[in-house]
């Protein structure tokens, strides 16, 4: 008989994601994903000055900060036909890279690692042996037996006090945890180091955008003027700080993050066969080096892979009204034309229509509408978005740097290529692209320095800043890749104001409810067949859902098939 468990919320920090999962014979039989919060940002920006919108929509997420602002300024620039100066493109790329390095490291250590790492087990670790393992996988300077023994003592005090603090309420001791105590100790030690490091990398946002989270953007370029002979502008001191932060980031990624992923993965190779889900992958691409309108120059190439066929990359057109559309059949919205319809985002509607149960409730009626997330489709097909999609599109596009790192990683782990279509593949892809980004960010930095050295200090294109220069009607789309996947904003400008604005975000693709044909999106599809050893401690479900990097996971509520509450576990 099947058992329905409810996990809400499922993410470890921000976010309102709920899963209702049916388990039968120790395996997930079906799953329903629900977004449980709405704010109506798309309504709020209507009628406003298009140049202001980046600030509103930037607040869509405080974790994925900057990416929505970037999508927004691009949408406006696309609508008004504004090309940004190369320096602004490079600064945006550097902020993009800083965001990725921050986001992926924080995701791995602070939001995902504890699904694989047993904190309490590290008390049994031998610091000498831990040090030997650490030195065998990396040249990281902090690797002495004493260093690890000190961390072990800190954690021991936590455990003995009965107050695990940030490590409270995990499923410690669950048989799904496979790492030896020494590897657990390395991972938790680096969890603490990563907490310190992540404060530094975001300083790049502060230097160019004034603050993090939510740095400032500007339609037409960036506001951070360059003047190498002025203390009040981007000068040698500011640039040197950026360069130093990028070098430190590369060190951390190459000497801590990447070796840890390679050290942990061999204990979980079975997860190379679990959590695959959908077979289509979509990536808008990003990191332009010759302008936003030339995707061939993107470091992340654009394209779609269908049916896991890595021999073909299919083109995407964000302005083709037959490609990307959103459904609301199972979402708490209504369309004027009826809820079976799908709308292209320029014609999109955000009419709130909550028909779910009155809170407090135990269950959603998944036959009806059950989420605040709309259901996007590309030519009617569901798509996975995120690091795995980016790595696969890069690989299938024939880019050597993608081929090298993917092939090398598969060989090191001694797994077949099919293992990439999995929970493990998703988590490994995130680490691989972080490694690529760390290299690219230094290239972008050098390009910026060379431009400035050659006398180019332009940072903003002001030709169409004044609304009097705009056409009466204009439409644009801003495509980007957020750390969590393909992100796009569509704008319709009329008479200098926003007439319509729609966001289709990565988690819209991945976490959405079913479409009218009953097709599942990524989260729901990826859970089918996942083994669940103990429904009261569903760590396996967390592993797969967290591999997509939704933003959090705090409390887990479990119910028997009749919806009776049986247990509650909190995870931090």
């Amino acid at each position: 008989m099947s058992n329905r468990i409810v996990i809400d919320p499922i993410t470890r920090i921000e976010g309102h994601l709920r899963l209702e999962v049916e388990i039968e014979n120790g395996m997930v039989k079906d799953a329903y994903s629900s977004g449980t919060m709405v704010r109506g940002l798309e309504q709020i920006v209507k009628g406003r000055d298009p140049r202001d919108v980046w600030a509103f929509v930037g607040r869509a997420c405080g974790v994925c900060t900057t990416v929505h602002s970037l999508a927004s300024v691009r949408a406006v620039e696309d609508a008004l036909d504004i090309a940004v100066p190369q320096n602004a493109e490079l600064v945006r790329n550097l902020m993009f890279c800083a965001q990725y390095m921050h986001d992926h490291v924080v995701h791995f250590y602070h939001l995902h690692a504890l699904d694989w790492v047993d904190v309490v087990s590290l008390l049994k670790a031998n610091p000498e042996a831990t040090s030997n393992i650490a030195k065998s996988i990396s040249n990281h300077s902090k690797s002495s037996p004493k260093y690890f023994a000190d961390v072990q003592q800190r954690i021991k005090k936590f455990v003995e006090s009965g107050q695990l603090g940030i490590f409270a309420n995990g499923y410690w001791g669950h048989p799904a945890y496979k790492l030896p105590p020494e590897v657990n100790l390395i991972a938790v030690t680096h969890y603490l180091e990563a907490l310190e490091w992540q404060k530094d990398i975001v300083k790049i946002h502060a230097i160019f955008g004034g603050k993090n989270p939510h740095p400032n953007y500007l339609v037409g370029g960036m506001a951070c003027a360059v003047n190498v002979n002025e203390v009040n502008a981007i000068n040698a001191e500011r640039l040197a700080q950026v360069g130093q932060l990028l070098k430190e980031a590369k060190d951390f990624i190459e000497m801590v993050y990447w070796p840890d992923v390679l050290a942990i993965a061999p204990f979980y190779l079975d997860w190379g066969g679990i959590g695959g889900g959908l077979t289509n992958y979509l990536c808008y691409g990003d990191l332009p080096v010759g302008g936003y309108n030339d995707p061939t120059g993107f470091k992340f190439p654009r394209g779609i892979i269908l049916d896991r066929n890595l021999n073909e990359v299919i083109d995407i057109d964000g302005k083709d009204e037959d490609q990307i559309k959103e459904y609301v059949k199972h979402s708490w919205y209504s369309y004027d034309a009826g809820d079976e319809e799908a709308l292209f985002p320029w014609n999109g509607q955000t009419n709130l229509n909550y028909t779910g149960p009155e809170p407090p409730f135990d269950h959603l009626d998944v036959e009806q509408k059950y989420s605040w997330v709309k259901t996007p489709r590309w030519k009617g097909m569901p798509m996975e978005v995120g690091p795995l999609s980016r790595m696969l599109v890069g690989f299938a596009s024939g880019r050597s740097e993608y081929k090298d790192i993917i092939t090398d990683t598969l060989e090191r782990l001694n797994v077949p290529v099919d293992a990439v279509f999995s929970t493990l593949g998703r988590t490994a892809a995130r680490a691989m692209e972080t490694k690529l980004i760390a290299d690219w960010s230094l290239d972008f930095f050098d390009m910026l320095i060379n431009n400035i050295k050659a006398g180019d200090q332009n940072m903003a294109n002001k030709e169409k800043w004044e609304p009097s220069t705009w056409p009466v009607e204009a439409k644009g789309v801003g495509l980007t890749e957020a750390p969590r996947g393909a992100l796009a904003h569509w704008i319709v400008v009329n008479n200098k104001k926003v007439e319509n604005y729609q966001l289709v975000v990565p988690s819209t693709w991945n976490s959405s409810p079913r479409d009218p044909k009953g097709q599942r999106s990524s989260y729901e599809a990826s859970l089918i067949g996942t083994p669940v050893h103990d429904p009261e401690q569903p760590v396996e479900i967390l592993r797969t859902i967290h591999s997509f990097d939704p933003c959090m996971a705090c409390a887990v509520h479990l119910y028997d098939p009749k919806g009776k509450y049986i247990h509650q576990v909190s995870v931090h």
């Binding site: 940002l41 709020i44 406003r48 140049r51 502060a206 955008g209 004034g210 603050k211 370029g221 509520h557």
Partner: protein
């Protein structure tokens, strides 16, 4: 909130959760502009009727720490203040800790001398922008925004919005989203103004080009004085007693 289904966690509405977690609290810290003043979802037309904490919890002290987000060091500073001095920090008339919200960004801005001298950025990335002149004409909300950005700065004192060339958008002020387009400074700004003496000097220096601005500033100084008096005289002082 118009419909409790607009925001639920674990099947409970956000308002219910807020009431539950507030139950045993002596005081509540409303972190950020969302909790302090409603922030972006509360902007017109506020489709979900989003509401700040102090409108829901009315029977306990609410310390409002606005900003989108607040400065990290300020957030830590509020907690450290309570732990170190064993009492709530003094608050202004809007319930914000005076330690971090009693100075306008304008008054602590290192570009202030440019304002006083009438030196303004006239358009993005122009020669004046490259010299780091005042961003007032680019819509900077520093003159109407109370926050610690100019002193504490952001991310380990690395920078703050004005230092990086973009005006302040006023993210710690109530209803800042609806105070007009970010890139134009409106004469009808509520509470706009500057301390009389320093600014009169500065505005005279700004000369004819800024004459309209000067007239406006002098007018609004009168309003501002009332606001300053409010802050000082009507600041919430009873919170310590309530804690004891």
């Amino acid at each position: 909130m118009a419909n409790p289904g607009y925001c639920t966690i674990g099947g409970k509405s956000s308002v219910q959760l807020l009431k539950e977690v507030s139950e045993g609290a002596k005081a509540i810290i409303a972190w950020g502009s969302c909790a302090s003043n409603g922030c972006v979802q509360n902007a017109h037309p506020n489709p979900t009727q989003a509401t700040p904490v102090h409108k829901v919890i009315t029977n306990k002290p609410v310390i409002r720490v606005p900003g989108c987000p607040p400065i990290g060091e300020v957030m830590a500073g509020v907690v450290v203040h309570i732990l170190t001095f064993e009492k709530l920090p003094e608050l202004d008339s809007q319930g914000r800790p005076k330690a971090f919200y009693s100075r306008r960004v304008h008054d602590t801005c290192y570009r202030r001398p440019n304002y006083d001298a009438g030196l303004f950025v006239q358009s993005w990335d122009d020669e004046n922008a490259k010299k780091g002149y005042c961003l007032y004409k680019m819509g900077c909300r520093g003159p109407v925004t109370y926050n610690a950005c100019g002193v504490t700065r952001w991310n380990g004192s690395t920078s703050f919005p004005i230092q990086s060339g973009h005006g302040c958008i006023g993210c710690s002020e109530s209803k800042f989203w609806d105070n007009g387009p970010f890139y134009s400074h409106l004469a009808s700004f509520p509470g706009f103004g500057v301390e009389s003496n320093a600014d009169k000097v500065g505005l005279v220096a700004a000369g004819a080009a800024a004459a309209g601005m000067a007239a406006h500033a002098i007018f609004t100084n009168i309003r501002k004085k009332a606001l300053i008096r409010d802050t000082v005289e009507e600041g919430i002082k009873g919170l310590d007693n309530e804690l004891k």
